[in-house]
Amino acid sequence: MNILSFSLEICLTSILAGFLGALTGLGGGVVIVPVLCLLFKIDLHYAIGASLVSVIATSSGAAAAYVRDGYSSIRIGMFLEVATTLGALLGAYLVAKISADWIGTVFGIVLLYSAWASLHNTGVDPKRTRQDALATRLNLRGSFPVQGGKEDYTAEHVPAGFGIMFIAGTLSGLLGIGSGAVKVLAMDQVMKLPFKVSTTTSNFMIGVTAAASAGVYLSRGYIFPELAMPVMLGVLAGSLAGSRVLVHAPVMTLRWVFTIVIVALGGEMIFNGLTGRL
């Protein structure tokens, strides 16, 4: 095999991963890393480096559509980015301290959790329970368009949400993924933000969080240009196509099919990690 067909093969696989990531709402990163490791036998460090780059591209590439809808909240996003970027620095630092087998095992667990969470996304807004003094003082509120006007919301349980965001950032830096599922968990389940606000704000945060580990990745040589190139272009193209199709596709059926693929990938990552094959 020559370099051209190798790069094309990686690129096509990345298109598929980006497409799948967009349809399931998991993001391209959690799909492409196990595929590069398990199918192409690429070292985990190179795989997460290439994935991290593609995660930044996907997050920025989707921004235009999200801004138009007017659901995301810059203040809540920016405030929580303090936690995710600090976590990302820690995560990127830990990559060099933990063996590839352990990172792969953690990756598999996060993959299984993400698949589970995406199937339980009901899209229903959480019930708000109380006024949160800290959220009011930090101005963690906003409004989003509903039929015939605007609906206001305020965040709750700010310290717990901030803490989970720190963990989301650490996982992002350690695994080279956006960890959107954990970010949505913090905003949707803990901070009781409306569902649409959580998902769109999470998309913006993913790019900034990944940028925080990118500098560390770069200086440690995890970002190999000739590998990152086809992965970044492929995942970006695939996820843009996926988010277009999402509007028309019979989502539940597709989601189930893809979830099975993801569970298989997660299981194999854990197995290979625990048996020391990564």
Partner: protein
């Protein structure tokens, strides 16, 4: 001031869109240059030995891109891509300062410092 918030958000969104487009074009151009000569070997990715030093430092990447070295051009595109979300945070610092929202100007500034720390911490 919801009107201003929305304007800031739209400006940020547009900046991200432009940034990712330019970065993808640069990476693509570098990729075409990289793949055009035949007979290039496939790098060994099965064991981690780091990327060559020329692709680990910002100044080295700039120098390589000026020499029209294909891999340095790809890495330069990746640097542009990484810079896009950082610019978004910079927009936040400026935008919130303009809106006289001192708290969020400070929050954005903290995020910016953490992002820059990533580039100045040595292994």
């Amino acid at each position: 001031m919801p009107g201003n918030d929305q304007r800031l958000e739209i400006a940020m969104g547009r900046m991200l869109q432009v940034g990712v487009t330019v970065a993808a074009l640069v990476v693509f151009a570098g990729g075409v240059l990289y793949l055009s000569p035949s007979g290039r070997p496939i790098p060994d990715y099965s064991h981690f030995h780091g990327a060559p030093a020329a692709y680990e430092h910002v100044t080295a990447i700039f120098a390589g891109a000026l020499r029209i070295d294909s891999k340095s051009i790809i890495e330069f595109g990746i640097l542009l891509l990484i810079a896009t979300p950082i610019c978004r945070v910079l927009f936040g610092v400026v935008g919130f300062t303009f809106m006289k929202d001192r708290l969020y100007a400070a929050v954005s500034a903290i995020v910016l410092v953490v992002l820059l720390l990533s580039f100045f911490t040595r292994r």
